[in-house]
Amino acid sequence: MENIVEVKNLEKYFSNFSLKEVNLTVKKGFITGFIGPNGAGKSTTIRCIMNLTRADHGKVRIFGKTHEEDTENIKQRIGFVQDESFFYGHLSLEQNKKLIAPFYQTWNEKLFAHYIERFELPRMKKVDHLSKGMKMKFSLAMALSHNPELIIMDEPTSGLDPVFRRELLELLQDIIQDEEKAVFFSTHITQDLEKVADFITFIDNGKIVASEEKDALLEQHAVVKGPKEWLTAERRRLLHGVKETDIGFEGLLTEKQRLAGEADGQVLLERPSLEDIMFYTVKERKNGHSTIA
C-alpha cells in the first residue's frame, strides 16, 4: 500500500498545548479517519500537513516530497476543506470561485457546476449569507473541483444535516473507487467514520494513541461489563476508563486477546464503537485508572 502522506515525529509547541511525536500515514485508495476530542490536536496536525503551521520538529512528506521541496506541486494535488469557512465572506460564491480557480491547473469548470447543482448552492449569494452547512458544501465543491488526488478535510461534517452527511460519506466512497486517491478526514463525530473509514488515527492531548486499520482497532478492543468481584488488580490494569458502581463495573479492554478464556461467562464483552474507544481512553487519561460512581 502506497503512502500518500507520511508524518514522522511531528512536534509543535504552543504555550498551552503541544503536539508530541505525531506519526501517521494516509494510504492511497483508502479513507483515513482522524479522531480525537476537541482540542486534541487534530486541526494543528492538519495545519502542519498543509504547511499552514510550521512544525518545530519532524517531517511531513506528501506524494514523497516535503513542502520545502515543492509546496506548489503538493498543493495542486490536494483538495482542502477547513472546519470553518475561510473564503471571502463579502463576495459571492461565483466571485470566490473566479478568484481561486485560476490557481489550479486542473480546475474543472463542469465539475464545479456539477457540485454546485448537486449541493443546491446559490452561486450569486454572498458567502457570509450562507448557513454553516452551506458554507461547508461550498468548501467541498471548491476542494473537489480540481480533481485532487488527496482530500484533506478538517471536521467537514460538523455543520451538516444528517441527510447531507450521508451524501458526503457516499461521495467520499465514490471518490476513492478508482484507488488512485486518498481521503484524510478529521472529525469528532465518530459514527461517520465507522461507516466509511478504512484506517483510523486517534489523537488525544497531542499524542497519537492508535493508528491502524479500523476493523483491527475495533477487533482488538472490547467494552467489558461485569461484577466487581471479577475486577482484580491485575485485570484492572488491562482496562481503560473503568467505571465502578455498587454492583459492577465497565471499562475498555485494550488488548482483548490477553483476557482470552478468563472472561467467558463471567463478564460481558461487547464490540466497541469508535466513540467507546475514544471515550474510555480520554477518560483514562483525565481521571486516572478508574472512577467510582
Binding site: M50, L52, T53, N73, K75, Y88, F103
Partner: protein
C-alpha cells in the same frame, strides 16, 4: 501565480474602499484649489497605497496559504501590489492635474517624470515600513504605527520648511538650499535609499512570513 495573487487583491476588495480612496482628493487638492506639485505627489502616494494598506484587513491568510503558491510569492505579490496600483493612481492624478492646468485660474504645472519617481520612492518607503510590521504585529498595530510614523515624517518636513523660513535659525539653510538647487539629485538619492530599504524590507518580510503560522 504572482499575477493571480495580484488579481486576488484587486477583486477581493469591498467596493466602498475605492470610493474612500477617491475621497482623499479633497484634502490633498485643498478642495480642488491647489496646484502645488508636492500635493499631487502625495495624492499619488495615497491613492497607490490605499488598497495595499486596506487589503490585508480582508485577506484570508489561511485560504491564500492553502493555495498552490509559495509563501515567498505571496510576499512578492504584496510588494508588487503598490506598483500595480500606482498605474491607475498616476493616470487619475495626471488627468486631474491636466484639467487643473488647463482650466483653473491658479498657477500650476503638469506632473513630470521626477515627480513620479519621488512619488514611487515615497510609496515604497511607506510600504517597506508597513509590511514587516503587518506580518509580525498584525493589522491594527501595523496601520497605527505606519500612520503615526507617516504623520511624524510630514510634521518633520514641515518643521524643516518652517526653520528654513525663520531668519533667526540658519542651521538647515545650506541643506535646504542644496535640495532646492539640485532637486533631481535629491530625488535620485532619495529613490536610491528607498530602493535599498525596500530590498531589505522585502527580505525581512519573506523571512517573517515563512515562519508564520496560520
Amino acid at each position: 501565480m504572482v499575477i493571480q495573487l495580484l488579481r486576488n487583491e484587486m477583486f477581493s476588495q469591498k467596493a466602498y474602499n475605492y470610493v474612500l480612496a477617491f475621497s482623499s482628493f479633497i484634502p490633498f487638492t485643498g478642495f480642488f484649489t491647489s496646484g502645488v506639485p508636492i500635493r499631487h505627489i502625495l495624492l499619488i502616494i495615497v491613492l497607490s497605497s490605499w488598497v495595499p494598506l486596506i487589503a490585508p484587513y480582508y485577506e484570508r491568510d489561511a485560504l491564500l496559504n492553502s493555495l498552490p503558491v509559495t509563501r515567498k510569492k505571496i510576499v512578492t505579490a504584496k510588494y508588487l501590489a503598490p506598483l500595480m496600483w500606482s498605474i491607475p493612481a498616476t493616470v487619475i492624478v495626471f488627468i486631474y492635474v491636466f484639467l487643473f492646468v488647463t482650466y483653473a485660474p491658479f498657477p500650476a504645472r503638469l506632473i513630470t517624470g521626477w515627480d513620479l519617481l519621488l512619488a514611487l520612492a515615497g510609496l515604497y518607503l511607506l510600504i517597506s515600513f508597513f509590511y514587516p510590521l503587518l506580518i509580525s504585529l498584525g493589522y491594527i498595530a501595523a496601520t497605527t504605527l505606519t500612520a503615526i510614523t507617516g504623520g511624524a515624517i510630514m510634521i518633520g518636513v514641515q518643521m524643516v520648511i518652517n526653520i528654513y523660513h525663520n531668519p533667526s535659525m540658519t542651521s538647515l539653510d545650506s541643506t535646504v538650499e542644496n535640495i532646492i538647487a539640485n532637486p533631481n539629485a535629491f530625488i535620485l538619492l532619495f529613490a536610491g535609499i528607498t530602493l535599498i530599504i525596500t530590498l531589505l524590507s522585502y527580505a525581512l518580510s519573506v523571512k517573517l512570513y515563512e515562519r508564520k503560522d496560520f
